[in-house]
């Protein structure tokens, strides 16, 4: 197991290196410059001095070499848009709220979703099934900004039950969490239902029933475990997309998260932050995939991580 994880970490470094290289050159193809509107005010020779100062006049391979050299030493550089602020600090600052929001939404969404899916499957074609299908369809098809806007208006402004926006403690995270949880809820409900219906129809369930296992036992002991495997597969990418922040929800609820920062840095051509966030997201994604792979083995021992190793 340890060897397997080490091996995977080795691949991870290679993958990150490739991602860093590709994104660096792609990023440099982006139109515009990080100086933005300020450069409109400068004469050409003044502009050259500023560009020189930030090394933006060097040939791109030289810039790449410098960046990679610093990266290996763990230095992600300083931001352009937030003058002189370290990228690492900005990423850590802004990842916190996104992580909290993402975790809350993931737990809320998937637990309720799984429950919905389960109930719908057990009573499939019944009223509950019908209701949960409607919720699933609505949840996947209503854009999150519409839902977020409705939540904010009715619960925040009309009822004044919860703060409208900004980030000042747990009560401020409730509305964005709900808005963010709708998609994982709908998705996991839909998956769960389909899988569960299939599993409950299979031979081993009939056998279990024949042996006198109660309904509870059939559903949770025999059914759930098997139905979870495909769900875990989609949970990985879903977790990553939730935890790495979403521009829309963060903007609407004034959450200082990393999703907003990422998009912002792209429109501002803030190269060090674009690189930093890309690498950070990539690292996170690879890590989550690794965890998912390990989880498979726990949920279903038939899926082996290592060929015959202990």
């Amino acid at each position: 197991m340890a060897r397997y994880i080490l091996q995977r970490l080795g691949y991870m470094i290679i993958t990150l290196f490739i991602i860093a290289t590709v994104s660096f050159f792609l990023m440099k193809l982006m139109p515009g410059s990080p100086l933005g509107a300020a450069q409109e005010k400068l004469s050409e020779s003044q502009l050259e001095i500023v560009l020189d100062k930030y090394g933006l006049n060097d040939p791109i391979p030289v810039q790449y070499y410098t960046y990679m050299k610093n990266l290996v030493q763990g230095d992600l550089g300083v931001s352009f848009q937030f003058d002189n602020r370290e990228v690492t600090g900005i990423l850590l600052d802004r990842f916190g709220p996104s992580l909290q929001l993402g975790l809350q939404a993931l737990i809320l969404g998937s637990v309720i979703g799984i429950l919905f899916g389960l109930i719908a499957a057990v009573y499939h074609n019944g009223v509950i099934d019908f209701t949960s299908t409607i919720i699933a369809v609505l949840g996947t098809s209503i854009p999150s900004f519409v839902f977020a806007g409705l939540l904010q208006y009715y619960i925040g402004v009309k009822l004044e039950w919860l703060p409208v926006a900004t980030w000042d403690g747990f009560e401020y995270s409730i509305l964005p969490t709900i808005a963010l949880a709708i998609f994982p809820l709908a998705t996991s409900a839909r998956f769960m239902r389909t899988e569960m219906v299939e599993v409950l129809g299979s031979d081993f369930i009939t056998t279990a029933r024949a042996k006198g296992v109660g309904k509870f036992g059939v559903v949770f002991k025999h059914g759930l475990r098997n139905a979870l495997i495909p769900l875990i597969t989609i949970m990985g990418p879903m977790a990553v997309s939730l935890l790495t922040g979403t521009l829309v929800i963060e903007k609407i609820f004034g959450v200082p998260g990393i999703g907003d920062q990422f998009v912002n840095s792209i429109t501002q051509n803030d190269y060090p932050i674009i690189m930093g966030t890309t690498l950070f997201f990539a690292f996170f994604f690879i890590l989550v995939i690794l965890i998912i792979d390990i989880l498979y083995g726990i949920v279903d021992p038939r899926i082996r991580l290592t060929g015959g190793d202990k």
């Binding site: 450069q39 409208v164 200082p256």
Partner: protein, 558 residues
């Protein structure tokens, strides 16, 4: 069947409890973090506290590095330069009490007050200005606004920035601790108002050097000498501005505290205003109708002017004077401000905005004297010019590209202009090219466009801040406009006419006519306004024409 129903229900309940427990845990966790902010919310019902939003994080609190409105806003609130802008752009005493100007207008001697201190107790001296100004033009600093604001104004600023001279050669000296002598490159009648600008703020050398890389990155790595200090700065989230008890004029400051949350979305801000969490909100076009007639609404006219740039170097048609004249007249600008912008913006008839500068003797407004140099719209006349132009060009169809970006209402703007121009001028095809903002800046720089809507806000209170844009090869020209007479007139305002305010004024009036009427170099569009909702008990907030947008020093809550 029934039994298992119960089981499921119980399971569901257990899960719900588990969830509740989870979030309960989070609650106790974060309520400790949130406790001081709750404290804020309670205090905000007390007197003299403003709750506002800012639309983005402060990019920089370093006066030498600041380049944008948000930075200059909060630098202006927490720091003070030689002077400060008061009501109607009037210059009020700051760290300087007064000044003398030499006969040739090139040497300005400022007398500084002796009771001004930094927030660490150090006195604010003339040396702080010398250090800061040198730092701003030093090429090693990499400042954009240093060379922009000081180049051509302070003696040797440009040469130092280009590395041709030592930074000590900059035309600024501390004669003693409280006398600052500034040598200018050219006579600069507006230097007073320039000295209120963020780039000209002083810096405490010992402190800046001690902080090194960390300078101005956090609330406690900045020294303040203004009416307020920043006491808390949670990046991208919120910050707190509080009255500075050590400010030399603290008696004039009523406001105790300004709480600022960073909220980027307009509807979110409006919702926060509706629940009373904030005291002022800016409205976008769709909200203006919704709140029409509301007595909390204030329309704030800005001296920011938007115009259509017509690049004469790329399109053969735009090099033709009659084509440009036709374009000036073909667009119904009233329809544009009323329907597309709908934020209180008004049609502009020239380059220098209304209510911005007044005649040095009669006090009459610049715009009033020069009037509307182009009518709001005159489609008949436009057609006449157009037919003449087609004849001169020897063609019956012309294609022109219109460059737009991804900003607010940019798409609607491009489509409106396209429709107006094409329907008025037969044979004209407008091709719209939409690019990201940063790319538009680059294309502008490389003069790779035909038409584009561009805007300019003043950096100091003088017609020159606008008129300077279109001198030959000026960094902002970027459309191949060149007129010797225009250049001469503009140069004379910083030369032989610099000491004759009335004649200098006439030069600006004439230059504007040349630019817009004779040469039809640009087509003025509109002067921007902001529509906002304000809590009615907020009084005395000054909206500045240049520098920090709002001045809170004299603000109070009734």
């Amino acid at each position: 069947m029934k039994k298992s129903n119960w089981l499921l229900l119980v399971f569901g309940l257990v899960l719900t409890l588990f969830l509740a427990a989870c979030s309960g845990g989070d609650d106790s966790d974060s309520s400790s973090e949130g406790s001081d902010s709750e404290g804020n919310a309670e205090e905000s019902s007390a007197e003299q506290v403003l709750n506002l939003i800012e639309v983005d994080e402060i990019p920089s609190m370093d006066p030498s590095m600041a380049t944008d409105a948000i930075a200059f806003q909060w630098l202006g609130a927490t720091m003070e330069g030689l002077y400060r802008l008061g009501e109607n752009g009037e210059v009020k005493p700051g760290i300087a009490t007064d000044h003398e100007v030499s006969e040739d207008s090139l040497t300005w001697t400022f007398n500084l007050r002796e009771d001004a201190t930094w927030s660490n107790g150090d006195p604010v001296t003339a040396h702080d200005f010398v250090y800061s100004w040198r730092r701003a033009v030093d090429p090693d600093t990499g400042s954009s606004y240093g060379p922009y604001m000081m180049g051509g104004v302070i003696k040797n600023a440009t040469a130092i920035n280009q590395g041709e001279m030592d930074v000590e050669e900059l035309g600024v000296k501390a004669e003693d601790d409280y006398t600052l002598v500034v040598e200018l490159e050219n006579p600069t009648p507006y230097f007073e108002s320039l000295a209120t600008f963020g780039t000209y703020l002083p810096l405490n050398q010992a402190f800046v050097e001690e902080q090194g890389d960390q300078f101005a990155l956090e609330a406690d790595t900045i020294l303040y000498n203004g009416p307020f200090t920043m006491t808390e700065w949670n990046h991208n989230q919120n910050f707190v501005i509080e009255k500075n008890p050590d400010y030399w004029d603290a008696d004039s400051v009523d406001l105790e505290k300004i709480n600022l949350d960073i909220v980027k979305d307009t509807s979110t801000a409006v919702n926060m205003y509706e629940t009373g969490e904030i005291d002022r909100v800016g409205l976008s076009a769709e909200y203006v109708d919704q709140y029409a007639g509301d007595e909390r609404m204030r329309v704030i006219e800005e001296p920011t002017l938007f115009y259509l740039k017509m690049n004469q170097t790329r399109s053969e048609a735009l090099a033709n004077l009659n084509v440009r004249k036709a374009i000036q007249l073909a667009i119904d600008k009233q329809g544009y401000t009323d329907v597309i912008l709908n934020n209180g913006s008004v049609v502009a008839g020239g380059l220098v905005p209304a209510n911005f500068v007044n005649h040095p003797e009669t006090g009459e407004d610049f715009r009033e004297i020069n009037g509307d140099l182009v009518p709001v719209v005159d489609k008949e006349k436009a057609k006449e010019y157009w037919n003449k132009a087609l004849e001169e060009l020897g063609t019956d169809s012309v294609e022109i590209e219109m460059l737009g970006d991804d900003g607010e209402s940019a798409e609607k703007t491009a489509e409106y202009f396209q429709e107006q121009l094409q329907s008025t001028l037969p044979g004209l095809t407008i091709k719209i090219k939409s690019v990201p903002f940063q790319e538009r800046i680059r294309l502008n720089e490389e003069m790779d466009y035909d038409l584009q809507v561009s805007g300019w806000g003043p950096d100091y209170i003088d017609p020159l801040t606008f008129m300077n844009l279109f001198v030959t090869d000026g960094p902002n020209n970027n459309m191949g406009y060149s007129n010797e007479k225009y250049d001469e007139l503009i140069a004379s305002t910083s030369g032989e006419l610099a000491q004759d305010p009335a004649a200098r004024w006439d030069a600006f009036l004439e230059a504007e006519k040349i630019l817009i009427q004779e040469d039809a170099a640009i087509s003025p569009l509109y002067q921007r306004a902001r529509t906002q909702l304000w809590d009615q008990d907020i009084q005395g907030v000054i909206v500045n024409p240049a520098g920090p947008q709002y001045e809170y020093k004299w603000a109070h809550i009734e």
